[in-house]
């Protein structure tokens, strides 16, 4: 008992130290910002719950889903989230455990490597839990309330479901920490042989494209949603039931959260066996802690310190000095850095390759559905959203570009050059890549629109508009970074899991994509009624996007002029 007490006594300052580095708690100090944060959180949390509950209720009322299979639907969602969580946890834990900059400081503290390891796990678990508060937890409560509204789930679930959920999340974090060990070796291999990473990345992309093409072939020629719905629903039901059987560990957790289905009553009930299941889950959790202790402990310290070391290449022949034009040198530097840092460019490449492929797949589904005029316009608007959303959402990385340079970014200020160019050159690489991908999406859209006899002008106008929108949002995102730089965080911690600029950029991306789709829908509907085609609508969209691009770029230039040296 004394040992455990001493362990926790040691953990407390370690965890607090790392948490204060990871999270910005400055808002707690001011009553106003505290209330603001709490109110926003409650509103966001409540809205998500309300949205999910009402959506479930409506889907059930409209007969789109069977209320008895609601919990199975949750199993599907839960599995998906947990798998994604496991992947991201493995990656992030590998970085956090073995590559975090604060390791250099933490290893000097008079604590054992076990203390250090578990403090990192606890900190990671807390940050994971905070992240889950924005999606997984409110959606789970939404399902529970939806279930209660439909008479499928008992009221007591609301007080119980968080316990198995937290335990499951804990298990995922622990599995992630175990998987981070082999992943670390793969990561290091990729770093040593970058071409290998590129090849694997390309292979996955090709496999994905093949998968999409195979899926497209499965789409029937003509989908009549209204008439075919009963049979489609049955197929979906069978599919979900089968999935639930395959993913039995997740089904087990969900059953312990929502209760069991019985033959003698409708819906799910919290029975004694649910608590036994939760106890088993607790046992699994403790077992994983023990496994982590015995498996990782022996070489955690070795692996952590190893990441501080770099192997040098002995260069026999010195390379020549190369002169570039004053402005071209920034682009050249960015190109070199991006090619050498596959982490960032890989994320972009993934989005930029996937966007046109997914659009192509969605359009095949749309083509098979028979629609009226409004429905057709809606599919075009949806197309536009599908094109805009991934590009804008991926710009969240752009909102950290300058900060990620750490203190190296400050040196730019000492150079005798107008800053607009070096700052802009940081996004040229991504902007160039995104243009290629957007043009690809333009071709996919043109192919889809040609079915309705729409000529080349509309896709061309749309492509140019999206390029301008992307340009506007990219500059908006970098302006966020300039106005609220996080250089010191990146310079000291090496990462920032809760970068406000990233969050803002993503939020604006979501709103902007929805707005662009909505405006396009309105414009298309209006011009089709008056002119019989969409040309004017897309000219208007182009004008709006050009205005947005000019406004965003002007603000960037003005803000750099006015604030960059001060921030």
């Amino acid at each position: 008992m004394g040992k455990i007490k001493a362990f926790f006594k040691k953990m407390n300052p370690l965890v607090r130290f790392q948490l204060s580095d990871k999270f910005d708690f400055s808002w707690v100090k001011s009553k106003k910002t505290l209330i603001q944060q709490v109110v926003f959180f409650v509103i966001k949390f409540g809205l998500t719950i309300g949205f999910v509950a009402i959506a479930l209720w409506l889907l059930s009322i409209l007969g789109i889903i069977n209320k008895a299979e609601m919990v199975d639907l949750y199993v599907l969602f839960f599995t998906l989230i947990m798998v994604l969580l496991l992947l991201s946890d493995t990656h992030n834990l590998m970085l956090s455990l073995y590559y975090a900059d604060d390791n250099k400081l933490l290893v000097t503290f008079p604590v054992t490597s076990t203390d250090l390891f578990f403090s990192k796990i606890v900190v990671y678990f807390i940050s994971d839990f905070v992240k889950n508060c924005s999606l997984l937890i409110p959606v789970t409560f939404g399902f529970a309330i939806g279930g209660i509204m439909l008479g499928q789930v008992s009221f007591g679930v609301l007080f119980w479901l968080l316990i198995p959920l937290i335990l499951a999340n804990g298990v995922i974090v622990l599995i992630g920490s175990l998987l981070s060990v082999p992943y670390l070796y793969i990561y290091r291999l990729f770093k040593t042989v970058p071409i290998l990473e590129l090849l694997i990345f390309l292979a996955i992309s090709v496999l994905f494209v093949i998968g999409v093409i195979m899926a497209i072939q499965l789409i029937p020629e003509d989908i009549d949603l209204v008439n075919q719905w009963p049979s489609m629903r049955q197929t979906a039901q069978n599919f979900i039931a089968q999935i639930c059987e395959y993913v039995f560990p997740f089904t087990f957790v969900v059953r312990s959260m929502f209760g069991k289905h019985g033959a003698s009553y409708l819906g799910y009930r919290l029975l004694g066996s649910c608590f036994i299941d939760a106890a088993i889950l607790l046992g699994i959790f403790v077992a994983f802690i023990a496994i982590c202790y015995f498996v990782i402990k022996p070489f955690f310290f070795y692996m952590m310190t190893k990441s501080f070391e770099f192997e040098k290449n002995i260069v026999d022949q010195p390379k020549p000095n190369k002169k570039h034009r004053k402005y071209l040198t920034f682009v050249n530097k960015e190109l070199i850095l991006n090619i050498r840092d596959i982490d960032i460019s890989g994320t972009f490449l993934l989005v930029y390759i996937l966007a046109p492929v997914l659009l192509f797949f969605m359009n095949k589904v749309f083509s098979a559905i028979s629609t009226r005029l409004d429905g057709e316009i809606m599919t075009y608007a949806f197309n536009i959203m599908l094109i805009v959303l991934p590009y804008l959402a991926s710009n969240s990385v752009i909102a950290t570009l300058y900060s990620k340079e750490g203190r190296a970014a400050y040196m730019k200020k000492t150079k005798p050059i107008s800053l607009i160019f070096p700052l802009s050159s940081k996004i040229f690489f991504y902007f160039g890549l995104s243009i290629i991908s957007i043009v690809g999406c333009g071709f996919v859209f043109a192919d889809y629109a040609s079915n309705a006899g729409i000529g080349a002008l509309v896709p061309i106008l749309l492509t140019i508009s999206v390029i301008f929108i992307q340009f506007a949002h990219m500059y908006y995102s970098v302006t966020l970074d300039i106005m609220n730089p996080q250089n010191e965080v990146y310079a000291t911690v090496g990462e920032n899991n809760n970068n406000p600029n990233e969050n803002k950029s993503t939020l604006v991306a979501l709103i902007a994509s929805a707005l662009v789709a909505f405006v396009s829908f309105g414009l298309m509907r209006e011009t089709h009624l008056s002119d019989g085609n969409f040309n004017i609508a897309f000219i208007k969209l182009l004008v709006i996007s050009i205005i947005a691009a000019i406004a965003s770029f002007s603000l960037f230039v003005l803000k750099v002029k006015a604030y960059y040296y001060e921030k």
């Binding site: 260069v315 010195p318 000095n321 070199i336 203190r407 000492t414 005798p416």
Partner: protein, 749 residues
């Protein structure tokens, strides 16, 4: 026949006009003779008297009984006088209100614009009214007869004209400057827009196309109106944000009074004495409250309008409560939008323009208490008037019929219908009792939820307003900074006296680094990190900069190299002003920071070439210099490795090399020797001496006093943001102290 009536009525009218002019002109002479020292007070009293006359006339009875009569009177359709007279009468009736408001406020707001408005607008309008008083009267009251209203109009015009004459004569010398013409003309037009009576659009556009009803408007029309509603306050905000608070209050007050008068423009005094006709709807009440708030400045009342009225107006504009079969320019429709527009943006503008501070939790609490009071009041009034509706009561020489009310829409299903069946079912839960034979009905659950939800949402929208204010503030801050940059450029141009912008501001100074009354304050700090620093370093000097941690060494260095802006004073590098000729100044500098900051994924050579590119170093020069430095710092084996593989010392060497690659005239080093091995320290020291020998400046800060003593020609010591002394090493030697003792004696002083 008509002419005879016109003549008779007109004669009587002018008697009132002339009498008023005579009385007020007489008063003016009397006051000049006897009370010349109390001129301002008398002006204020006269304004208040004029305001009283104006209000009595404004609320006096009109003889317009039916809707058709109303349309006939105000529209350009003819009616009982011709179209031209209708136009003249209506336009005069409109602009006279604006002129009257200018006149009423003139003695309370004494600045140029308020003087100009009276001198150039009110005077002209009242002079025109003297001529057009007859058509004006017929438009206002709907008949040619000389009634009480007519008499009051005569007095009003006469008084107004007399006051204008007075101000015109006393302000003869205060001429409007040419560049102010557009400002005065534009603002006067805008203000007239605010005082526009709700029947004016109808007057100009008439019945129009029979199809133009409210229900014909699409969502895009509605969106257009919303954009217009947002554009208007934005225009006002941008026009007023640089003005002083008095001027802001003046303009907002004019608009508030104008729109309130426009609101009451269709009624008369009888509306004010029937409680069921009073403006107890939240947004109607806002019209009156905003006027009170801007005149008497009661804080709590203001925050009540801020938290409660604004949100109410937004909701109302989203769910207009007029009949959609009305024409789009029907006075009711115009009335609705004008009213809610003011209730929506006026309180927000007051805060955005900083007439009132951003609300705190305390103010929300008071507003909620106020709202509770308001809610109880309308709850009682609705219940009582609905119970007594149809009953005729006699008071103030009139019979009045009590009307059932639905103030704040808590007594009907207007809102419930929009929310759905569940809300209507809540509304239908009623409690009824009978008193004096009258049934009193309340909807307790619906009304309680209504109150609670409204209060909570009122709290929630606080943060939405805050978001907009933050945007407005950041935009204003940007505007101020850009203006500062523009002013700096103008100052630069003027100090260059016609020379090219590429030339140094200070002529023929050669290699020099100069701080001139330099001060630096960080962010919102209320103290200076460095204050009034003066320093001059000449070419060929190795200059040492000493001081304890946090004394301000790095602050000065960072300001010289351009990492942070200068708060006050100037810094010159080789004659270039760092503030306004930053690019030129920086091209003269090479900087070694206290923490190396490099792109770790580039190789050492790539990084050095990148820096050489920025300074546009030729291929020959860079080859020669880089080869020399690589050898000097023993980096041959690792220069083509990635920087991330370097040791701390190697990274520092790369930083030093990058600062020298362009042979800067001023080499600035902030703690440069940290982490270097002894050989490298020696090499850096040698390099510093060599660089200074070439006629350049070496300016460096260090805590290594021995090195500073051996290396430097002159030394500055800084303590708590103030430069304590600038001395040569010889001068210190003459004191018989070592540099260390000298330094400690200065620091511990």
């Amino acid at each position: 026949m008509i002419f005879a009536r016109v003549y008779n009525t007109g004669r009587m009218l002018y008697i009132f006009v002339l009498a008023s002019i005579a009385i007020f002109t007489g008063l003016y002479f009397l006051s000049k003779k006897f009370w010349s020292d109390k001129r301002h007070l008398i002006e204020k009293i006269c304004s208040l008297v004029f305001a009283g006359i104006f209000l009595i006339r404004f609320f006096s009875v009109r003889n317009i009984q039916t809707l058709s009569e109303y349309f006939d009177t105000f529209a350009l359709l003819g009616g009982y006088q011709n179209k031209f007279l209708n136009l003249v009468g209506n336009l005069l009736g409109w602009v006279e209100i604006t002129a009257a408001i200018f006149l009423m406020l003139r003695p309370f707001f004494r600045f140029k614009t308020s003087v100009w408005y009276v001198k150039y607008f009110s005077s002209v309008v009242f002079a025109l009214c003297l001529i057009g008083i007859y058509p004006m009267l017929s438009m206002i009251q709907g008949s040619y007869d000389l009634t009480f209203t007519g008499a009051m109009l005569g007095i009003e015009i006469g008084t107004g004209f007399a006051l204008c004459l007075y101000y015109f004569l006393t302000g003869l010398k205060r001429h409007i400057s040419k560049h102010s013409y557009p400002e005065v003309a534009l603002t006067a037009t805008f203000i007239n827009f605010a005082t526009m009576q709700c029947f004016i659009p109808y007057f100009f556009f008439g019945l129009g196309n029979i199809n133009n009803h409210v229900y014909d408007m699409s969502i895009f029309h509605r969106v257009f109106i919303y954009i217009f509603l947002i554009a208007l306050p934005l225009t006002l905000y941008f026009s007023l944000r640089n003005a002083n608070p008095v001027k802001i209050r003046y303009f907002l007050l004019i608009i508030a009074i104008g729109t309130t008068l426009a609101y009451f423009g269709t009624g008369d005094w009888r509306d004010l004495v029937q409680p069921w006709e009073l403006p107890f709807h939240l947004c109607n009440l806002a019209m009156v409250l905003i006027c009170i708030v801007l005149i008497f400045k009661p804080k709590r009342l203001f925050y009540f309008t801020y938290f409660i009225n604004v949100f109410g107006a937004i909701l109302a504009m989203l769910m207009p409560n007029y009949d959609e079969f009305l024409l789009v320019f029907d006075p009711t429709v115009v009335h609705f939008w004008a009213n809610h527009m003011i209730a929506f943006w006026m309180p927000l503008l007051c805060v955005a323009l900083k007439l009132y501070e951003r609300p705190k939790l305390k103010q929300y609490f008071y507003s909620s208490v106020g709202f509770l009071g308001y809610f109880i009041l309308v709850f009682v009034l609705n219940t009582v008037f609905t119970a007594y509706q149809g009953t005729v009561v006699h008071y103030l020489w009139n019979d009045f019929t009590i009307r059932g009310t639905d103030f704040f829409f808590i007594n009907s299903t207007f809102i419930a219908e929009k929310l759905g069946d569940w809300a209507e079912s809540l509304f239908n839960i009623t409690v009824t009792w009978t008193l004096n034979g009258k049934p009193f009905t309340i909807h307790p659950i619906y009304q309680f939820i209504y109150f609670t939800v409204y209060t909570l949402i009122g709290f929630g929208v606080w943060f939405v307003y805050q978001l907009f204010f933050d945007i407005a503030d950041s935009h204003y801050d940007l505007h101020l900074r850009l203006r500062g940059i523009r002013l700096d450029k103008i100052a630069l141009q003027s100090s260059l006296d016609g020379r090219s912008l590429d030339e140094p501001m200070e002529k023929d100074v050669g290699t020099q680094l100069k701080l001139e009354h330099f001060s630096k304050k960080y962010g919102t700090n209320n103290y200076y990190s460095v204050e009034d620093a003066n320093l001059e370093v000449k070419g060929g000097e190795v200059f040492g900069f000493l001081g304890p941690n946090g004394a301000g060494k790095s602050t000065i260095i960072k300001s010289i190299v351009g990492i942070q802006p200068i708060t006050e004073g100037n810094i010159f590098v080789c004659g270039y002003n760092v503030k306004s000729q930053a690019v030129h100044a920086k091209s003269q500098i090479g900087f070694v920071p206290d923490h190396y900051a490099l792109y770790e994924k580039l190789t050492g050579r790539e990084y050095l070439n990148y820096i050489a590119d920025i300074y546009d170093v030729s291929q020959e020069d860079r080859d020669a210099r880089l080869n020399e430095y690589i050898k000097l710092f023993e980096l041959e084996a690792s220069i083509d490795n990635k920087i991330k593989t370097y040791s701390h010392g190697m990274k520092q060497k790369i930083t030093i090399m990058s600062a020298l690659v362009h042979e800067p005239k001023v080499w600035i080093l902030d703690e440069p020797l940290t982490g270097l091995d002894p050989t490298s320290i020696f090499q850096v020291k040698e390099q510093m001496k060599k660089h200074a020998k070439k006629g350049n400046i070496v300016f460096f800060s260090s805590h290594l006093i021995d090195i500073v003593e051996k290396l430097c020609d002159r030394i500055a010591i800084i303590k708590k943001g103030h430069i304590q002394c600038v001395v040569t090493v010889e001068e210190i030697e003459k004191t018989g102290m070592s540099l260390e003792d000298y330094y400690l004696s200065i620091i511990n002083k």
